[in-house]
Amino acid sequence: MTQFLQACMNGLLTGALYALIGMGLALIFGVMRIVNFAHGAFLMVGMYVTFLLFDRLKINPYLGFIGAGIFLFAFGYLVYKLLIQPIRDRSDFMQILMTTGIALILVDSAQLTFGADYRQTNIALINSAAHFGPFTLNSASLLSFAIAAVFIIGLREFVVRSRTGQALRAIAQNRDVAPLMGINVIRIQGISFALGIAFAGIAGGLLLPALYLFPSVGEDYTLKAFVIVVLGGMGSIEGAAIGGLALGVAESLTSTYIGNQWALAIDFVLFLLMLSLKPSGIFGSQRA
């Protein structure tokens, strides 16, 4: 039982970061219907920004991630304006093609700029653990969990309360009517895209101390992000958060009881099961 609970807790700690990644994609893909195959590449950019802040300016990654978030918001908006907006009404597949191209450019640019070398930040916090009775939790993971929780709640509040958030939900509900209500769809879509990318960057920054860094580090996370969005239900920001946590727990339990080599496979099996049995996701109600 202890083992089970410990595995669940470890899963939740990782899952919070998955939740951030997933919520970012939920904004872009779930709400704005842009199929973003470069999500992981943007996460990688966030990691490099955080790493540079750490390496050059000695800024702790748990602060530096904010820089990554801001940078990626601006960068995401630029990418949207230059490359996504012109094709926003094209087929899903054109978007897939475009974002695959963007991902290739980002990954190879990172390699040309920073080299293919593996890099890591080794901060003291990552080596300390907190003990709660029979359970042990990594302090850095706890901190990143707390930060992630703030951003998860913050994003949800933003979507529910702010004017931009309301416009965003209006577009999600009906893309054809929203412009008639005086909503500037392009502007809102640009902001959502940038915000989604910023969340990928934040997640990257928080992931950095626990992981290490190389140009293609983001690849696995693109697919994971889609799995999370589908698990949580398209178009649902809260759903993506829950989906991320659930995925973290599922992976942790799989590697505890079956073996870590199947943990990735469980992502996809869950995904296929979910799509076949309950395509609206855990929380989704609307579905295109």
Binding site: N10, L13, A116, P215, S216, N260
Partner: protein, 398 residues
């Protein structure tokens, strides 16, 4: 239409470059073919290769090159994919007519190119591929500089036998070619040596949480853990071993991640790296002449310390140049013959001499991290320190 035009322009420009590129083959320089992974999942190691080759190249050319001509590298990127490596053999041999090949980086790419190399009858010098199926072909054209996974397993077991002879071993390996090859070697060798393999756990590399894997190992209560970890996962593994208080008497490992220059330093696993044993093919501190100079030169150029991949590439190019010089011609057959009998008693990578199967009898060292540095503890002849056994419990470490 303007973009049809644009594409036309790109195309013709590229075609021009392509043809132009083929033309630059000149009689002035001697070209050696290199296949490595400049892009893709193994790009970091491809970079180490390239750096090692670059140092060797400058060194050879500053000493007058080969056959009185300048030596030049003809590099093909296999994108970390075996079939691309095969295509590389074709490009370098059929198109560019290089007399000798070096590469590739990974075991799978290297294994894949062996039939192609054999057919073309060109000598191949393998710098880094450790999986043992690479040498299965027994081809007279294949030479390997590095020691293999079997050598790793046997060296580790010899060391254990001489130092306390523990009984129970657990193997933790990453689920890739490297990990699986080393697991197989160790599993077979450990059973042969009469040890009990109490747990075999694999993990998916590049993830942030290995605690479940280590927890399963902990339950099996092994005396020894043999870790086959390619990348910086070594740091994560040790950190999380500390977190779950996993206390075997020996942490042993199959090199790479555990033998990287950063691993015992603050930039790597830091204090968690202490007391871990690793097999190693080379260290800057090793006694072979020139190794410290290589380390210094590498640091000067690339601002980081080399791992053994770089010096294996370096040694491979030295071997190629020496063989060409001794063959006195660019005929592949003659170069092959001179590699066969080649005897370099002193290189920064130690003595190089190939056995009948084309394998360089490179000694495998066992190192232990002590005080933030790699110390050589085995074999006795090369050792500079005594091993610390058992590794203290995590709770007793400072």
């Amino acid at each position: 239409m303007r973009f049809a035009k644009l594409i036309g322009v790109i195309f013709s420009a590229a075609a021009f470059l392509f043809l132009f590129g083929c033309q630059k083959d000149s009689a002035r320089n001697v070209r050696v073919g290199v296949i490595t992974s400049l892009t893709g999942s193994q790009a970091a190691f491809g970079e180490a290769h390239r750096n090692g080759y670059a140092i060797a190249l400058d060194e050879i050319n500053s000493k007058g090159g080969v056959l009185g001509k300048k030596l030049e590298l003809d590099t093909y990127d296999d994108q970390s994919k075996p079939e691309q490596a095969v295509q590389g053999v074709s490009k370098l041999v059929d198109q560019d007519r290089v007399p000798v090949l070096l590469g590739s980086y990974s075991s799978e790419s290297t294994k894949a190119i062996i039939p192609a190399v054999n057919q073309r009858q060109v000598p191949l010098i393998i710098p880094t591929a450790t999986a043992d199926n690479v040498m299965d072909s027994k081809s007279p054209w294949i030479f390997r500089i590095c020691a293999g996974a079997n050598d790793y397993a046997h060296a580790t077991l010899d060391f254990l036998k001489a130092n306390g002879a523990p009984k129970k071993i657990a193997i933790v390996y990453e689920n890739t070619n490297f990990g699986q090859a080393n697991r197989r070697s160790m599993e077979a060798a450990a059973k042969e040596a009469g040890m009990e393999v109490v747990a075999i756990e694999s993990y998916e590399a590049k993830s942030p949480d290995y605690k479940p894997v280590l927890q399963r190992v902990k339950q099996a209560n092994p005396d020894v853990i043999y870790l086959c970890s390619y990348l910086l996962d070594a740091g994560t593994l040790m950190r999380q071993a500390q977190e779950i208080d996993l206390n075997p008497k020996y942490y042993t490992s199959a090199g790479t991640g555990f033998a990287a220059a950063e691993f015992p330093t603050a930039k790597g696993a830091g204090k968690n790296a202490e007391y871990t044993f690793s097999v190693s093919q080379w260290l800057p501190a090793v006694q072979w002449e020139g190794s410290k100079q290589f380390d210094a030169e590498y640091f000067k150029r690339f601002n980081s310390h080399p791992a053994y991949h770089a010096i294996q590439a370096y040694a491979a190019l030295l071997v190629a140049a020496d063989a060409i010089n001794k063959a006195g011609s660019l005929d592949s057959g003659k170069i092959r013959d001179s590699i066969k009998v080649l005897d370099l008693p002193s290189t920064p990578f130690g003595p190089v001499h190939f056995d009948a199967n084309g394998q360089n009898q490179h000694p495998v060292l066992i190192t232990q991290v002590q005080g933030g540095e790699y110390k050589i503890v085995f074999p006795q002849s090369a050792a500079d320190s005594k091993p610390i056994i058992p590794a203290p419990h995590w709770s007793e470490r400072k």
